[in-house]
Subunit: 267 residues, 3 copies
């Protein structure tokens, strides 16, 4: 499937795990502030995931104050999970504030495959150059008008000058010249609402402490995938799993990352 | 209390459990999409309850896109838990979309006993013919202007051509000609917010895979009641209970339903 | 640090624990209704904390009905966690309704240190005489323009004729003439979102059953701190902790309060 002419350089397992360990250590040391524009379904779990890992969330959507919050933050998440006028106004102000302050921001185009207005809006936002876009296969297809194979994802990342973090049975992360595939994670992650939203917030948290957006995005998705596997070992179903993955994000360390990371081929 | 002239036919325990097992199997097989208009207190737990059981929730309230979401869904929940302009506009569009697409919808008239405006609004919605109304005794009394005894519930269901799912120490489910009483459940269910809201969402999920609205509503309430009992056996209080009932919804099967169902007299 | 001329009288450990036990017993006996204006991040956990302890939460923000809800409640919480037009209108109506009905209300000025508009708004609200203000050190400093030492807190409480409940490694509670320091709590409490918001709601619940606002506020903060310690003993991280503290609020009793309370010096 990979065209040797255009294929991105594959990141090695060792490169990935050492970067993820370094990013995690910096995140815990700096406790970056992550402002999250996200839907009300996801707010609580997203905040708890950031806190568990060591970041500091804020979530206001008020147009009158979101600029001040973002200016005092270290990264921004824009999640389209509930798409209404208030959140679009907040997003416009927040992305401006992030740009003016040189802060990284992440787009999570939730459910762009379910309503055409969301896809239009997401495409407009992508012109404002998020550092990373984290999404699933159906959302990628709706945005990129292409099947989510390796070549399409790499090509999309290159054309939009961003990092794509595509989650699925294996995650694929690509920028304009590199890519990595992560095979960690667990099926129970799909049975807890806001798991992807929380992962996107963690991408934002990692971007706050790592300038290489591919390394930050891959680190975040690796950490979440491993935490999911650790949680599944202690769970009897999605309720206990949701608590256990927060516990896992709290205790995960470089050794667990090194032991559990699984990279591999995709597509 | 029952007038033999007008009393509804009682559904037998065997009829109930075999229907519930069949509904559960279809729900897990089809993974119906359930769009939920619900309050922000209940959104996360409601989404997790649907996911745990095997349905796929969506929750947007935006007037610009809710029609598209409902049109691509298999059932709709309208919960009055937070009652504001945005949700009323969304409800109007969503119920229209459900009607036009022949989708079942469920009304949960939360707290209609606490503010007169809600009761007025709920009565207006009931003219739009929800397939089922799930509520508690205080809410029934506020809506129906009658004590929640068997005769009143059966009469209300008949007059409104809907199914009433009245939850309480024993649940009573009635349509225009049949009724059933379910004695499952646990007192900890009243100590977790949004438990009733989640039950109503599960009624919507069951209506998505079962045309007989009484069978669907009774199946949903039986499944939730049994899951509550299973959860209580593994809990030390309402916090662990909330996680455990999601685990129970994930593992519940036909055998557990057949062993644990308790039907009986009401009122 | 304490100026013997102006220092407040210190409440003894025995006074505190016997009051907290009495407040808890009354709260469980009366199941007071607590209406909460709070942010959508905190709503679910706040409702569950109140239910776990034995109070009955409601959370509507609709201007059309919030007056009716507050009028039928026993106490009101105003939390600035998400600060938008809807919540400010709701707050205005709700505080009016509380005043007219003689109900106690609590202010939680969340994040007033992060956006100047919030601090302005919080100062305006404080003129409407909340019975108690629960906040952390950064929020106190932003509101009072003073470092959060004992003298400043006592002076602020005296000037505003309210109770200040300052949470931190040790909690300090003061009114115009008395103060108490509580050294209970656990570091995991800072890793679960809405823990402070839930504590403020519990202050409102205690004010519903105890006219002495200092006793009510100190009882609430003692109960929450002890529940946090009990929860930490059963937790593997913040996810299991969030469930365990709800379990602890459900089972905490006079004996646990008497055994575990730690009062002491502050600042």
């Amino acid at each position: 499937m990979r065209d040797p002419q255009t294929a991105a350089r594959l990141m090695s397992r060792e490169e990935l795990t050492s970067q993820a360990a370094a990013v995690l250590a910096r995140l815990r040391g700096k406790a970056p502030r992550v402002h999250c524009i996200t839907n009300s379904v996801a707010q609580n779990f997203t905040a708890n995931a950031l806190l568990a890992l060591g970041a500091v969330p804020s979530m206001t959507l008020s147009g009158e104050e979101i600029g001040a919050f973002v200016a005092r933050s270290d990264a921004l998440l824009v999640n389209l999970g509930t798409f209404d006028r208030e959140r679009r106004e907040a997003t416009s102000i927040a992305v401006d504030a992030a740009s003016q302050n040189g802060l990284p921001w992440v787009l999570d185009p939730v459910f762009v495959d379910r309503a055409p207005q969301r896809a239009v809006y997401a495409r407009d936002l992508i012109f404002l150059e998020p550092k990373a876009i984290r999404l699933n296969a159906a959302e990628f297809t709706a945005l990129a008008d292409a099947a989510p194979d390796v070549a399409a994802v790499e090509s999309y990342a290159r054309a939009r000058r961003t990092v794509v973090g595509l989650s699925g049975e294996a995650d694929l992360i690509a920028d304009s010249g590199r890519s990595v595939t992560i095979a960690n994670g667990h099926s129970l992650m799909a049975r807890v609402t806001a798991m992807g939203c929380a992962a996107s917030a963690i991408v934002a948290g990692c971007l706050a402490v790592e300038d290489d957006a591919l390394a930050a995005t891959a680190s975040a998705m690796l950490i979440v995938g491993i935490a999911g596997e650790m949680a599944a070992e202690k769970s009897q179903g999605p309720g206990s799993f949701a608590a256990a993955i927060l516990d896992a994000l709290y205790v995960i360390d470089a050794k667990m990352i090194a032991e559990r990371a699984r990279t591999g081929a995709h597509g």
